[in-house]
Symmetry: C2
Subunit: 227 residues, 2 copies
DNA sequence: TCAACTTTGTGCATGGCTTCACAAACGTCT
DNA sequence: AGACGTTTGTGAAGCCATGCACAAAGTTGA
């Protein structure tokens, strides 16, 4: 017998990025009372090819039954395990402006797997306000909090100029997983993971494709440029 | 002489996704009074390899000077042109809960290139409220608005169950670029671009890496599983 | 029990992206 | 004017991810 492949082998980043999507869809199917799905059906729901789905799942182990498909509950559990969602991860949000408030009350957060344990902002106007049952505190209190009740993931929702300083504070406190909503590139030591979510980057990518479409749709600008 | 490569050749998706980052960094350098950068310097700022930066830029044309580097202003302008940001794109946001409010007042929006022209929500409690100078209206008024004053990009910030219906409404009105913040996979006809930003997906990816780190750091779970 | 049918798991080919390494091109200094 | 040092732009190689196609493995029905 071999050990769980999820814990031994390397899972490609591209696969990891798709697992949350599979999990979400499986959860919805489970709620709808669906007991079993084929790779073809699940792939159609998620919007990927069935071969890709099967290859992705093969990195976790072999949880399907040939001729039948996958048991929805089992597969959801195995993906949860692979992602590390069988226990809750404590999350702190720094920067409680509009975005911070939105994130704190976002339903996705309450989803199994994550728990908000700290909200931080140095603006005195926000001090002691409560959001989803957690009190907003000044950032300097984060270190003490982390020592008593460890924080696994730090979310930065401050304006861009403050982001690096906040990041340094988080890293200094010993937090090594950071989700950054500020439009800034953070420099961190090795071993710290940063993921960035940036609204304006996404808009700009959409603008690029929109421009291509409008040019392709008979706009004559290319012809004007060429002699 | 050939026409602008940005308008004739295909720019790889991976490159397009990095251009906004280059542009943001160049804008910051320009504000700091920097006139010229080498690919090495700019790549270090952005966090990519210099060879990658040069290859990315080569898809736009040849705007560098050998032995010197790139003129900051010129390069910023050319990237703006390639992304289609030399004119403003009208944006509408649907769903004005916490997230919608945060997006509307997000500074990234006001950045050159985008302009909020419509805010929509069917909740009567929000009707006629003004955010950043724009009045919130019921979604059914979007079609009329779009006919008078075209909307290029639609942003969906509703809860997941409403997302597909809102998407259908946007597509029906003739909008073909959509940014989706709801945790749902949208099905759209060919020719419509959808980009999704999902908080919980990002958190789950972080959780995966955090778990790997904690396992690698001497946790004995793998040893227990193996015989 | 056995044949027919379904669906998984995966070797292999294909395509795209990243990285390397270097010639070509430019400025500078003598 | 010419040699030298620097930096770009790009062919070529390597790497990773995707998609194809099929054998293996399971179920169903007779």
């Amino acid at each position: 017998m071999s050990a769980d492949p999820a814990l031994r082998r390397e899972i490609p980043d591209a696969t990891v990025a798709r697992l949350p999507e599979y999990l979400r869809t499986l959860s919805r199917l489970a709620e709808d009372g669906v007991l079993s799905v084929s790779s073809e059906e699940l792939a159609a729901e998620v919007g990927v090819r069935s071969a890709q789905l099967r290859k992705d799942l093969s990195h976790l182990g072999s949880y399907g039954v040939r001729g039948v498909g996958y048991d929805v509950e089992t597969l959801a559990l195995e993906i949860s395990r692979a992602l590390g969602l069988t226990e809750d991860w404590p999350v702190a949000i720094v920067g409680m402006g509009n975005l911070g408030h939105a994130l704190a009350s976002y339903s996705g957060f309450v989803t199994k797997g994550f728990r908000i344990v700290g909200l931080y902002d140095d603006d005195p106007a926000l001090a002691d306000e409560r959001v989803v049952g957690v009190r907003i505190r000044p950032l300097r209190e984060l270190v003490d909090h982390h020592q008593v009740d460890p924080i696994a993931i730090g979310v930065i929702a401050t304006p861009a100029p403050a982001a690096q300083a906040v990041c340094d504070a988080l890293v200094g406190a010993g937090i090594s997983s950071i989700l950054n909503f500020a439009p800034a590139v953070l420099s961190v030591p090795d071993g710290v993971d940063v993921r960035r979510v940036d609204l304006s980057t996404e808009l700009q990518i959409l603008a690029f494709h929109a421009q291509r479409k409008s040019l392709a749709a008979g706009d004559l600008r290319t012809a004007v440029v060429a002699p």
